[in-house]
């Protein structure tokens, strides 16, 4: 039952990230919020593949007995993809944020053009 803390952490991370995304006005802080959201997603995926009393899905030098089980491997492969994509998004957004700062001399979304004219 203590494993439910994984889901609680995921929901907390996800909601925190979402709150920060919407209420933070600094371009860098928004990127950090996206990273928090991404970490929450990764945690959730890993949790989905968890099995009680199981080992990692690697056979090298595994202590073998007849009742061994392994966790689901696909979520791990997928979050590898998701981590790389998250990294790519972060790098690009930070790069564009640098350029925005150089061109506008501010990182505050309220002072940047286009927010009021939704």
């Amino acid at each position: 039952m203590s494993a439910i803390i994984l889901y609680i952490t995921f929901v907390l991370l996800f909601t925190m990230g979402l709150f920060a995304l919407i209420f933070k006005r600094n371009l860098i802080k928004i990127v950090i919020a996206l990273n928090i959201l991404d970490s929450g997603m990764n945690l959730f995926f890993i949790t989905l593949g968890y099995r009680h009393n199981a080992t990692a899905p690697i056979f090298t030098l595994l202590p073998w007995d007849t009742h061994i089980t392994m966790v689901l491997p696909t979520p791990q492969a997928l979050i590898l993809t998701n981590i790389v994509i998250g990294f790519a998004t972060t790098a690009l957004m930070l790069g564009v944020a640098i350029l925005t700062y150089r061109n506008n001399k501010t990182l505050d979304t309220r002072k940047l053009r286009g927010v009021e004219e939704l």
């Binding site: 995304l21 979520p75 993809t81």
Partner: protein
């Protein structure tokens, strides 16, 4: 060899994109030609499939990496273990549209974007964007769809901020990336919910085993809303004007094309899963609601704009509304049990999908002409522009064709699809037709304003420069297609659209 076509549609642009930086170091002309050739090859491949898929009703499956790529299941299993690619009539319709248009926009951009070292990366990202679209269109696997959605959005957002020396484009790119990362996060959450229940990502397999639990319904919402966000339907359209107006002209057209590909994903997921989770009626109503809101808000916002590209961007929002309206009417009656789907639902869907193609054509052409206008006047403000038609009759004529097509004036293609939508939606609810016609009239008014201020009036102070040959060529081809579809709509509806609607509506 024809069985490998699904994977080649992605692999050929990718392999060319990977080698372009090396080729670009050697010779820039060869680089431009190579990228063009790659897009031409996938265009030809997609045309080769018309005979098999559209006429003989064959569906192409491809399991990447399998010993027998056309076999769905290996070793007598009942579920696929590898990534499945699939081309059916519905996806082929979009593949043909995407390859043809991205080739024409590439021709435009090859001479419109000034030649320097930065254009190497421009070409690379452009080809990657095409590969991302192809991947989304052929994927029969939700996670693959997600990965290629990311490829599409990351390369688009980099290209949106192409002109970094100006003040606003980097922020526009940031905004686009921001919106698409939120959207893809939620999309991934939807995928996770489905995976937790059924242990698979394959769309066809999920369709087979889904039984309409609460979690399924939540997952459907999580899959649909992000894609709607990426299409720019109204409650989530705040990124559209900035993105479209700050990007270079061919990229505006490409981003518009990309949002139509997201619309493909929206329709695919809604129709595939909707009836199995017993939410197709609710989804149809949601689509109609989104559609009406987008049409109305988009066009009213467009009327008050002074910036030519922002105006066109708001019209893009309003045009997406027509497609959602047509397809949403079809979706809401598809499970009704009586004959209403056969009477008007299917025709509404034909109108909606036909409008997707027409809209991609004339909206792309409008963005291209806006690029020429902006390059001539050095501003996007309509109050400053006047009298381009005195010198540049060509651009004026092309703009006229596109503007009349978007406003639904016969005999151009916009008229045909809008007429189909009006007639079929009238059976469903006459009020919706009235709104659609009203929106169309407002569209005409707003484009008359653009034509009057940009092309008529006093002659401009300086003569415009002559446009390069490929720029003119791509615009001429687009205009010819628009007029041809407007004059002979029956052929393309019979050949492409009706099989697509049949494939979408069967499950």
């Amino acid at each position: 060899m024809i069985k490998h076509v699904p994977v080649l549609l992605v692999a050929i642009p990718l392999v060319v994109a990977f080698m372009l930086p090396i080729i670009g170091m050697v010779n820039r002309t060869i680089r431009t030609i190579t990228a063009g050739v790659a897009i031409v090859i996938i265009m030809v491949l997609s045309y080769l499939l018309i005979q098999d898929v559209m006429i003989c009703k064959k569906i192409f499956y491809y399991m990447v990496g399998s010993p027998d790529p056309t076999a769905l299941f290996e070793h007598g299993l009942t579920f696929p273990i590898r990534i499945a690619l699939k081309i059916d009539q519905f996806s082929l319709l979009f593949i043909i549209m995407a390859t043809t248009l991205s080739f024409l926009f590439y021709l435009f951009s090859s001479q419109y974007i000034e030649e320097n070292e930065r254009k190497n990366y421009f070409t690379v990202l452009y080809v990657c964007m095409v590969a991302g679209m192809m991947g989304m269109l052929i994927a029969n696997d939700l996670f693959t769809f997600f990965v290629f959605l990311e490829i599409l959005s990351i390369s688009s957002s980099a290209l949106v901020s192409f002109r970094t020396e100006r003040k606003h484009p980097p922020y526009a790119g940031y905004k686009y990336m921001f919106v698409s990362s939120i959207a893809t996060s939620f999309f991934l959450l939807g995928i996770a919910f489905l995976y937790a229940q059924y242990g698979s990502f394959n769309i066809d397999y999920l369709k087979k085993v889904m039984d309409g639990t609460v979690l399924d319904k939540i997952a459907i919402v999580m899959l649909i809303l992000p894609l709607a966000m990426k299409c720019g339907v109204v409650p989530m359209h705040m990124w559209i004007p900035d993105t479209y107006s700050e990007a270079p002209a061919p990229i505006s057209s490409m981003v518009k094309l990309g949002s139509l590909i997201c619309l493909y994903g929206l329709f695919r997921i809604a129709f595939t899963f909707g009836s199995h989770v017993y939410v197709s009626y609710e989804l149809g109503i949601l689509f109609i609601l989104f559609g009406v809101l987008s049409m109305f808000v988009g066009v009213t916002q467009a009327l008050i704009q002074k910036d030519v590209k922002r105006l066109m961007a708001f019209h893009a929002v309003s045009q997406v509304g027509y497609m959602l309206l047509g397809v949403g009417v079809g979706l809401s009656v598809i499970k009704s049990g009586d004959a209403s789907f056969a009477i008007y639902g299917k025709i509404a869907m034909i109108g909606g999908l036909f409008h997707v193609i027409n809209n991609a054509l004339y909206k792309g052409l409008l963005f291209l002409t806006s690029g020429i206008m902006v390059r001539h006047y050095k501003t996007r403000d309509l109050n400053v522009m006047h009298g381009l038609a005195h010198y540049d009759k060509f651009t004026a004529l092309v703009f006229m064709i596109a503007a009349l097509a978007i406003s639904g004036i016969p005999p151009l293609n916009g008229f045909v699809s809008k007429l189909i939508i009006y007639e079929s939606v009238f059976h469903y609810n006459p009020l919706l037709t009235l709104i659609a016609i009203f929106v169309s009239v407002l569209t005409l008014a707003s484009f008359m304003k653009v034509f009057y201020s940009a092309f008529l009036g006093m002659p401009p102070e300086r003569k415009p420069v002559e446009q390069p040959i490929l720029v003119k060529f791509s615009m001429v081809i687009l205009s010819i297609i628009i007029v041809a579809i407007g004059l002979f709509p029956q052929g393309i509806i019979k050949l492409l659209i009706e099989p697509a609607v049949n494939a979408l509506a069967t499950f």
